[in-house]
């Protein structure tokens, strides 16, 4: 456990170190080649821009974060429900899978204007796009997790006359938890993309809207500030999901970290 923490800390130091070196190289390159600021601002310029109006940026970022989280949560809940429906009936499997595959092969960016027509320019169309982008990974992974149950575990359930509900809640769903988290880690990144797409198309706020308006004014520094905030947000969200995974699936993560632990004899 302590060793794992130390290794994690060491990994974090490596990541931050690499990031710092890259930023310094960027700063030095801008200083040396002096490109017009409309093409490439320096990291110091981006940081200064953020601190000129930190309240404004935090407000826009929190709008985007809110859309992302609502869409992601809905995608998770709805995705698990759809996956359960898919594995419990062949008919539902055909219907839901067909609809999902069609939805997933449509470029969501192309659907966004339609959602704006249907739902206006409030939060609803943005949440809808976020949900649509994130849900496919959840459904696909959870359905796989629900299906890949040890046949002997099902035989054990049948021999003991287990109810369908017991098989679902005591065997299939816990068995699908690791797969759910695989899906959630993919979905959280897609959710952020969905939120930005929504703000591009029908936005009156949020980091996507900031990027769009800053582009119109050729304020490249502002675009970069928004991008930086998006990068930080995406990274934090990904690791947040991973931390929840560690708490929720200790049997899986602990086995992954120390394969074969205690298996001798």
């Amino acid at each position: 456990m302590l060793i794992a923490l130390w290794q994690r800390a060491a990994g974090l130091r490596g990541t931050l170190g690499t990031l710092l070196v890259l930023l310094l190289l960027w700063e030095a390159a801008v200083w040396w080649f002096a490109p017009p600021v409309i093409l490439l601002p320096a990291p110091s310029g981006i940081i200064a821009d953020f601190f000129r109006t930190p309240g404004y940026y935090m407000k826009q970022a929190s709008m985007t974060l809110w859309i992302t989280l609502v869409g992601f949560s809905l995608a998770t809940v709805l995705g698990v429900a759809l996956a359960v429906a898919i594995v419990s009936s062949r008919l539902l499997d055909r219907v839901i899978t067909t609809v999902l595959v069609i939805m997933n092969s449509l470029p969501k960016v192309a659907l966004a204007p339609l959602f704006v027509i249907w739902m206006g320019i409030g939060a609803e169309p943005k949440v809808a796009i976020t949900l649509l982008l994130a849900i496919f990974a959840i459904v696909a992974d959870v359905a796989l997790g629900l299906r890949s149950v040890d046949p002997d575990a099902l035989a054990l359930a049948r021999v003991n006359h287990a109810s369908t509900w017991d098989i679902l809640t005591k065997v299939r769903l816990p068995n699908a938890l690791p797969a759910l988290f695989v899906g959630m880690k993919v979905a959280i990144s897609f959710a952020l993309v969905g939120a930005i797409v929504g703000e591009f198309v029908g936005g009156s706020g949020g980091l996507g809207f900031v990027i769009l308006t800053a582009q119109g004014q050729f304020d490249t520094t502002r675009v970069f500030t928004a991008l930086t905030l998006l990068g930080i947000m995406g990274t934090v969200l990904f690791y947040a999901v991973e931390s929840v995974e560690r708490l929720a699936v200790p049997w899986h993560t602990s086995q992954r970290n120390s394969a074969g632990h205690g298996r001798s004899g």
Partner: protein, 266 residues
């Protein structure tokens, strides 16, 4: 009074892309009440298929299986099953795994009944020498400890019939010896024994002779019962019984039959 399990010319034919495969051909066998019977044979002899048919997990395509006089349709009541792999759920502690079969049968883990259930599970774990593992998770245990827990899970509901499908096949030789002695102590006669009917699938002659009252030797292509050997060794049987001349005689007789059937045994 009918036998505990009656297998009446049961056959099982599977459809496969290359045509019909006969896993079992016309097997007739009776398992008496309170008897420990082994199904012994090489892989492909249909011994696991026969056990699955008795468990109601599979159904014979011809013939019939009756449990206590009643023809089977689906798994019968009051059976316990142990598989080759322990099938312990990783997200449950050992104690929670042991009560799983009881939960499947509709018993609650909450309230006074739940506490009584947990207490009985705890007693079973202690009888099998793994009481200290109750609050640990399966991945923290050795293979032998895990299989002991799986046996406790099958015994917790006090099944009338215990079905075991090569339960010690994946264990190393020494752990296997330990578990053979323990199973013999708990199931097969003696002061502490619980009189229950056991059907035990194995491909080890020594294991079958050591544990059983009778050994049904099966042969492959198609699967059938070649001969049934009564094992009259006195109980309780310590591990040293394996060095006795009677034990050796039984093993030799079964090995001779396998040689006649053209099966190489080792």
């Amino acid at each position: 009074m009918p036998a505990c399990v009656e297998i009446l010319s049961a056959g099982r034919v599977y459809a496969s892309p290359r045509g019909a495969v006969t896993a079992l051909a016309d097997v007739s066998l009776a398992v008496e009440e309170g008897e420990f019977l082994s199904l012994l044979g090489p892989s492909g002899c249909g011994k696991s298929t026969l056990l699955k048919c008795i468990a109601g997990l599979d159904a014979p395509s011809s013939g019939e299986i009756r449990v206590r006089g009643k023809p089977l349709s689906g798994p019968p009541r009051d059976i316990g099953m142990v598989f080759q792999r322990d099938v312990l759920l990783d997200w449950r502690t050992i104690l929670e795994n042991v009560v799983l079969a009881a939960e499947f049968q509709g018993q609650s883990r909450r309230g006074a009944k739940g506490r009584a259930l947990a207490e009985r599970a705890m007693l079973l774990l202690e009888r099998f020498g793994i009481g200290s593992c109750a609050d640990r998770h399966p991945w923290e245990l050795s293979g032998g400890q895990r299989q002991r827990a799986a046996i406790c899970r099958a015994l917790l509901c006090e099944p009338e019939i215990l079905l075991m499908d090569e339960p010690f096949g994946a264990l190393d030789a020494m752990t296997r010896d330990d578990l053979n002695v323990e199973l013999s102590r708990i199931m097969g006669g003696g002061a502490e024994a619980e009189a229950r009917t056991v059907v035990f699938v194995t491909h080890s002659i020594a294991e079958a002779v050591f544990l059983s009252d009778r050994v049904a030797v099966m042969s492959a292509g198609p699967g059938r019962v070649a001969q049934v050997f009564p094992i009259d060794l006195p109980r309780p049987r310590p591990l040293s019984v394996r060095e006795s001349p009677e034990f050796t005689r039984h093993v030799a007789a079964i090995r001779d039959l396998f040689t006649q059937l053209g099966v190489a045994q080792h």
